[in-house]
């Protein structure tokens, strides 16, 4: 693959940030899910968004990818304001949401083929890319089975294939490695590494510290809807494990009373 990531020709000159979030806020009823979040994702990096359950990671990704409208604040992806021009943003991004919303009554091959057509590719190119991706993702044998019959790992791979078909400039993944076996993780990781090597930016959320520590160049820790720590991995960790940095950033749980009855 020598082509450049899919960029919007009409977009303004690229800044250093692939993603820029400014004061992003989202409230659900009384709960403040994202609280004036600011974040810069450097272009061409592997960016990890970590945080405890309910920290606002998934909501932030939805607000950034045009899937959920913020109450206030701005999200700029690849120089384009997401909420001013959501379709222009969707042309240059790929998304693998946590709740993989796939057409489950299509086969793996059909899914990739139709996604490519919906993204405006011609049929020949759609078929070529679908076949290549199925081969790369090790889904060739299952290509003619319905997606609903796929395992969790296969579904993640199919969703990732659908998200990278158009060679996005920025790829967003929400918990991409959850319920995925090590073999599939490896395939997913290889694909993501190829994408970043080609100049794209990958942003993913996870609460699995080991994966984030191994993959990401830049990391942000989100807690209670805000970024509480961020930076290049080496600077952020400074010789420590990411898990320790994370616990320090979100505040360690106070020592609980012993459950004597469990040990007696």
């Amino acid at each position: 693959m020598t082509e450049r990531p899919n960029e919007d020709a009409s977009s303004p000159p690229a800044s250093d940030s692939a993603v820029s979030l400014q004061g992003l806020t989202k409230r659900f009823g009384k709960k403040l899910a994202v609280d004036g979040l600011d974040l810069e994702v450097p272009r061409g990096t592997f960016f990890g968004l970590v945080g405890p359950n309910g920290a606002g990671k998934s909501t932030t990704l939805k607000l950034t990818t045009g899937l959920l409208r913020p109450d206030s604040g701005r999200a700029i992806v690849n120089g384009i304001d997401v909420w001013q021009n959501p379709n222009a943003v969707k042309q240059v991004i790929g998304v693998v949401p946590e709740d993989l919303r796939l057409f489950e009554r299509l086969t793996g091959r059909e899914l990739l083929h139709y996604v490519a057509l919906l993204r405006g590719m011609d049929r020949k190119e759609a078929a070529r890319r679908a076949d290549e991706l199925l081969r790369f993702l090790d889904l060739e044998e299952a290509a003619n089975r319905l997606v609903i019959d796929y395992s969790a790992g296969m579904r993640k791979k199919a969703a990732l294939g659908a998200a990278v078909l158009h060679r996005p400039a920025v790829l967003f993944l929400d918990e991409p490695f959850e319920s995925v076996d090590p073999l599939s993780v490896r395939v997913l990781r290889e694909l993501l590494e190829q994408l970043v090597a080609g100049g794209a930016t990958v942003v993913f959320s996870s609460h699995v510290m080991e994966v984030v520590e191994r993959l990401c160049d830049v990391i942000a820790v989100v807690h209670q809807g805000r970024v509480v720590a961020s930076g290049r991995r080496e600077e952020l960790c400074n010789g420590r494990r990411l898990e320790d940095v994370f616990i320090e950033a979100v505040g360690a749980r106070p020592q609980q009373a012993d459950l004597d009855w469990l040990t007696s």
Partner: protein, 522 residues
């Protein structure tokens, strides 16, 4: 882009035929096409004047049914689930246009087209026939676009349980009103008055929902100018609606991905009563039903709506009552059977909590028995009210107690069969944040459930034949009326016991499949 949506829809439908729901889709399609062909043949056999009357009335009914049917009865075609398109750069107009055209493919629209083709086939010339064909397409497009626009616009409200309950009550009222109207009409006149229908047609053809179908009727008689004008107006209206739908859709797709806290779908039905190791699960379920009724607005609304259907809509004897036939009191028991329809999806509304029920209870049989008894009770109450009312009206008190006995038998039979249907074809109340609150990720599941529900009703009707025979005898014979008192409840109880036992056994055997089916995120 339109061709992509059409191909996608065809591919999804084709793939559904490869699954367990395929048979349901085929059966539903055959039924729908049969109904469409029957109406089409009738329309084809009418005179020019009658077709001009029939066409706008039928077209108007079609558009209104498409519009309110999904809201009132909780089902719509969402083969192409729009939430699955939210990730792609499709502007609202393109999305709405593609969905509108692909929405014309499916058992419902095709059956409707077949029915309307009966009118078109009488067109005297090729231009008239072409015009008629365009009119059919316009009528169906208007119906689907109207319906989807309304569902998308009301999406966030309809996902709230309270609004859905109100819709259920409205459904009860609509069914009830239609049932009562048809019964009283058939009792008070020999046939539906043609002049009345002509008056209705005159009104409908002046409204937007009647323009295209009126064009169809007129085109079938050879008229050209008026139909062309009506179709131009309809096209303009459709174009406006599609644009509006596109805007609403774009907005809805970015607002609905978070669960509504007020929606209680998925809350365990026995949460407050569940205790590990409780010894009488049936008692717990019944207590829970009672508690729901006293405290839970949702349950009260459900009860009220079902009673409305049972009392007013399920009264095939109103005509006899109006005519003062004392034996009509006996027929007052028949609404009891409708417990089988209302109770044919016992696991669906709270389906996502099924795993909790399974953990809390040693077997699903008591759960099914408790719920089906509650529905049988509802059926009986409905029958009691109508039986009492008709006895007061006609003075046929000698039939009152036998009618109550029959009502118990029918309610038990109906709810027993309903419990089995609940296990064979459970339908999850969709609650996945889609703009269409009735969307499912399983195209064809609605057809599947409908076929099984209708089959269940058919089986229920066959099973109550002994009671019906008794009722026929009870009209003239006092001893038969006496014999019915122990026979009907006992017979109903035996059927209920056997069917709920079979349903429970199947549910216990198929627990993993049921949980997967009902707890699956759409």
């Amino acid at each position: 882009m339109i061709s992509i949506f059409v191909r996608l829809k065809l591919r999804l439908l084709r793939n559904v035929l490869r699954t367990s729901h395929g048979l349901g889709v085929v059966a539903f399609t055959v039924l729908a096409l049969g109904a469409g062909a029957t109406i089409g043949l009738f329309a084809n056999s009418t005179s020019d004047t009658d077709r001009v009357i029939f066409s706008p009335v039928f077209g108007g009914i079609l558009v209104i049914t498409w519009l309110v049917g999904p809201i009132l009865f909780g089902a719509s075609d969402e083969t192409i689930d729009t939430t699955r398109l939210a990730l792609y750069p499709l502007d609202g107009d393109r999305l709405a246009t593609g969905l509108a055209v692909s929405g014309l493919i499916g058992p419902g629209p095709i059956a409707a087209a077949v029915a309307l083709a009966g009118v078109a086939s009488r067109a005297p010339s090729i231009p008239s026939a072409l015009l008629a064909a365009v009119a059919i397409a316009a009528t169906l497009t208007l119906a689907t676009v109207n319906s989807r626009l309304l569902l998308t616009a009301l999406g966030s409200s309809l996902r709230k349980r309270r609004t859905r309950d109100l819709a259920t009550v409205a459904a009860g009222l609509v069914v009830g009103a239609l049932g009562a109207a048809s019964q009283i009409l058939s009792a008070t006149s020999d046939s539906i008055n043609r002049a009345t229908v002509a008056t209705i047609a005159d009104v409908v053809r002046l409204t937007p929902i009647g323009w295209s179908s009126d064009a169809l009727g007129r085109a079938s008689t050879g008229e050209l100018l008026v139909p062309i004008l009506e179709l131009i107006a309809t096209m303009a209206l459709i174009s406006l609606l599609v644009r509006l739908w596109g805007r609403v859709l774009s907005r809805a797709l970015t607002e609905v991905t978070e669960a509504d806290e007020s929606n209680e779908v998925g809350t365990s039905m026995i949460r407050a009563d569940a205790q590990p190791g409780f010894d009488n699960p049936l008692r717990v379920i019944l207590r829970k039903e009672r508690r729901y009724f006293s405290r839970h607005p949702r349950y009260r609304l459900q009860v009220v709506s079902q009673l409305t259907v049972l009392i007013v809509g399920g009264a095939p004897f109103l005509g006899a009552v109006v005519q003062g036939d004392k034996a009509a009191v006996l027929l007052g028991s028949i609404p009891g059977l409708t417990a089988g329809v209302t109770g044919s999806n016992l696991l669906g509304p709270d389906g996502r909590s099924l795993w909790a029920e399974v953990v809390a209870m040693p077997s699903l049989t008591p759960l099914l028995r408790g719920r089906s008894l509650a529905f049988a009770f509802l059926g009986f109450v409905g029958a009691f009210i109508i039986t009492l009312g008709s006895a007061i009206w006609t003075g046929g008190w000698q039939y009152f107690l036998p009618a109550l006995a029959c009502a118990i038998g029918m309610a038990l039979t109906g709810s027993g069969v309903g419990s089995f249907t609940s296990v064979v074809a459970p339908a999850l109340y969709p609650d996945d944040g889609s703009p269409n609150p009735f969307a499912t990720s399983t195209p064809g599941s609605g057809c599947f459930t409908a076929v099984f529900t209708f089959t269940g009703v058919g089986i229920g009707l066959v099973l109550i034949v002994p009671i019906l025979i008794g009722m026929a005898g009870a009209r003239d014979e006092a001893w038969v009326r006496l014999a019915l008192l122990p026979f009907a409840p006992t017979y109903g109880f035996v059927i209920w016991w056997l069917t709920t036992r079979a349903a429970g056994k199947r549910a216990n055997r198929k627990q993993p499949e049921l949980i997967t089916q009902l707890a699956k995120a759409a």
